[in-house]
């Protein structure tokens, strides 16, 4: 290791130690940021800290959960893992995770899609898991084409990295096709059957990535994910390497048969629900399987996995259940609405939209969320708007036929439910920067239910 790298590493580790042990602060960003300032090639110099290699997870929705499940399953198999669990997924967050401990067997790192171009060439991971691509934060990330170009370039700069991606997603397959042409080895996962769920909006990617013809679907799972084929050219859902069949999805959990050709089938189940979660777990199972995790250890990791990061986290406040989840773009939000509608109990919802830089300052996407579905649900007893853009959310809801009051905090929203019975849960859906304050508030207000 060069002297400057050694100095950068030592300083980064010192900052990490100071933050965690002296100041008791979150060390997910700062150590990496400081060390990177000294040594821009830091990640390349730290890659050997994971002696058996690394896996990087990217994709618009589901990165943190998928990444953490992969890490937990490796640990359940007895491996030592370096991981940016809190979701700090830019270059500084990845560097901080690599600085955080001693050596480990594997690094499992979540990366922001646009950061892959900085991370992959230096880290040269064994696998890049690309979960999905949806429209998100147009003002910051630009159009999806730009995100795709970036990932293709990142893979080209790390030729030993294999791409593991969602074969059901035309946008991810657009990346895969181009990466294959450039010599990257690609493995795909997807649903082996029609899940038979109520159709939702397809906000993007209705057209062939290669020739622009409208895609046809044999079946569709959600958004643009499904068994697609272009009627005009050869672009289609590929033969899958990892398949989920006999899929059961409901609000309480998901289960499916996971199969990898030549390896037989095993049942995977988890008590967190939603069709997007089935895809996340399928991706995690594929990556874990490639890293040598056996079925029993993967299931053991899922059984012990309790999201504490505001992803489908449940709390009890004065006898009322509060469910907190991240919803930061139309597809994520629409998936959350599906979960909410699957809850047959009378219920209430608090939608919080901020417009800080890391949320995307442009919130026009709220008009692509299918709030109209809530207007027809008799169990939906109250809808409340919050966040810096509470007024915009209120207007959006008004045009969906839903009268909503505004609340400045989760506590205030709960206060507006005083006339509703305790059995009526409150769903709190927030975008990125509103998530941690909401979680902190709920941890103060009530008790956590896993």
């Amino acid at each position: 290791m060069r002297l400057i790298s050694a100095a950068a590493t030592s300083l980064g580790r010192l900052v990490h130690w100071g933050l965690t042990n002296v100041l008791h602060r979150n060390a997910s960003q700062l150590p990496g940021r400081i060390a990177l300032a000294l040594d821009p090639q830091l990640i390349a110099h730290l890659r050997d800290r994971a002696t058996k290699g690394s896996i990087v997870v990217c994709g618009t929705n589901g990165k943190t959960t998928t990444n953490n499940v992969i890490a937990a399953s490796l640990e359940a198999s007895g491996m030592r893992v370096l991981c940016n669990r809190a979701g700090a997924n830019m270059v500084a967050g990845v560097a901080s995770a690599l600085l955080s401990g001693g050596t480990a067997d594997l690094a499992v790192l979540e990366a922001d899609e646009l950061s892959t171009i900085h991370i992959l060439p230096q880290l040269r991971p064994d696998y890049l898991v690309l979960l999905n691509l949806f429209r998100d934060q147009l003002d910051r990330a630009g159009e999806i084409d730009h995100v795709q170009d970036t990932i293709v370039a990142a893979l080209a700069a790390s030729p030993s990295t294999k791409l593991v991606t969602c074969g059901d997603d035309p946008l991810s397959m657009g990346v895969a096709v181009r990466a294959t042409q450039a010599g990257t080895k690609v493995l795909t996962f997807g649903m082996g059957e029609d899940l038979g769920l109520a159709p939702d909006r397809v906000p993007e990617a209705r057209f062939c990535q290669a020739c622009g013809t409208e895609l046809r679907y044999e079946y569709r799972s959600y958004a643009q994910l499904g068994k697609f084929a272009c009627p005009n050219c050869g672009f289609a859902r590929p033969e899958l390497d990892f398949v989920a069949t006999a899929v059961a999805v409901d609000r309480e959990g998901v289960s499916f048969d996971f199969s990898r050709p030549g390896e037989g089938t095993r049942r995977i189940h988890a008590d967190f629900g939603g069709v997007y979660m089935a895809y996340n777990l399928l991706a995690a199972a594929a990556a874990a399987s490639l890293a040598g995790v056996d079925a029993a250890h993967f299931q053991q990791a899922l059984d012990g996995y309790h999201p504490a990061n505001g992803r489908l986290q449940r709390f009890g406040v004065d006898g009322r259940e509060v469910v907190l989840n991240l919803a930061k773009n139309p597809t994520g939000f629409n998936q959350n609405l599906s979960l909410l509608l699957a809850d047959e109990r009378p219920k209430a919802a608090f939608f919080v939209v901020n417009d800080n830089y890391n949320d995307g300052r442009d919130i026009s996407w709220i008009w692509d969320v299918d709030f109209e579905r809530l207007a027809g649900d008799e169990g939906m007893h109250r809808v409340i708007a919050g966040g810096h853009r509470a007024n915009d959310v209120q207007v959006r809801l008004k045009y969906a036929g839903i009268g909503a009051a505004i609340a400045g905090s989760v506590g205030e929203a709960l206060g507006q439910l005083a006339d509703l019975p305790d059995e009526c849960p409150l769903y709190v859906l927030t975008n990125y920067s509103a998530l941690w304050p909401a979680r902190d508030e709920l941890e103060r207000l009530g008790e956590r239910h896993g």
């Binding site: 429209r135 147009l138 003002d139 159009e143 999806i144 084409d145 906000p203 209705r206 622009g212 409208e214 300052r361 442009d362 919130i363 026009s364 996407w365 709220i366 008009w367 692509d368 007024n391 915009d392 209120q394 207007v395 959006r396 008004k398 045009y399």
Partner: protein, 248 residues
């Protein structure tokens, strides 16, 4: 009451030009007509359709990525003559972002000059950086300042005699230098303001509806609606932007 009155909205290529919540613009037009007893028929024009503007009252074009904008441009050039006749006859046309650029003589896609619809005397070239951020505009077509978001690499230049939609109070507007935003020509409104445009700017929505009613029925009066939520959202953003201006 608006008994028996009906307006026809033609939404051009919603599956291609939908980048910035543009369906919200159509929803707002529809609701604000229905709340006044005016029935609203929305016709979505898809690729492969041959749109007709003969019975149209309001035509709407949204924004899309460069690739999608180019596809739409090719389709619309085929019906340019009909669309131009609609505009010259006082037909109401709302165009946002990429749709706004299509109204002019040309725009740039990368370094390639793409021929536009020449419905309004304007053209668009490019500049760096992209102009991204919240925007507020003072305009004669809206009693409130028009607020929204802009995100465009294009710099749009109006021909002599083409009126801008308004004056930029915060943000960049057409080219980031003239202090002008959008265009007004006959009953055409072109603008970079999305967010989308109409929900928080009910004055603009009602302007489009009133012009269409006037053309179809000769009467432009609109019953007032309870716009408390819309105007509050408008004011919150306007006050925030003016506060940013004041602090420099």
């Amino acid at each position: 009451m608006g008994s028996g009155r009906a307006l026809r909205v033609v939404h051009l290529y919603p599956e291609l030009l939908n980048l910035y919540g543009d369906s919200g613009n159509i929803l707002v037009l529809r609701r604000r007509m229905e709340w006044r007893g005016i029935s609203c028929e929305v016709e979505e024009v898809h690729t492969g359709d041959h749109p007709s503007f003969v019975d149209a009252d309001i035509v709407f074009i949204g924004g899309g990525s460069d690739r999608e904008q180019r596809i739409v441009c090719d389709y619309l050039l085929e019906v340019r003559r009909e669309l131009a006749a609609f505009v010259e006859d006082g037909g109401v046309l709302g165009a946002v972002c990429g749709g706004y650029q299509l109204l002019g003589h040309s725009y740039l896609m990368g370094d390639e000059e793409v021929r536009g619809l020449s419905l309004v005397d304007l053209y668009t070239d490019r500049g760096t950086p992209r102009l991204i951020g919240n925007i507020a505009v003072e305009s004669r077509i809206s009693p409130q300042p028009i607020v929204g978001f802009e995100n465009h690499g294009g710099r749009t230049h109006l021909g002599p005699g083409v009126e801008p939609m308004g004056k930029v109070l915060h943000g960049y507007g057409n080219d980031g230098t003239t202090g002008e935003e959008g265009c007004l020509y006959k009953n055409v409104v072109g603008t970079y303001v999305h967010g989308p445009l109409l929900p928080k700017n009910p004055g603009v929505a009602d302007y489009l509806i009133a012009r269409a009613l006037e053309r179809r029925f000769g009467v432009a009066e609109l019953e007032p609606l309870d716009d408390a939520a819309e105007l509050a959202a408008n004011k919150v953003m306007y006050d925030r932007l003016m506060d940013e201006e004041a602090r420099g």
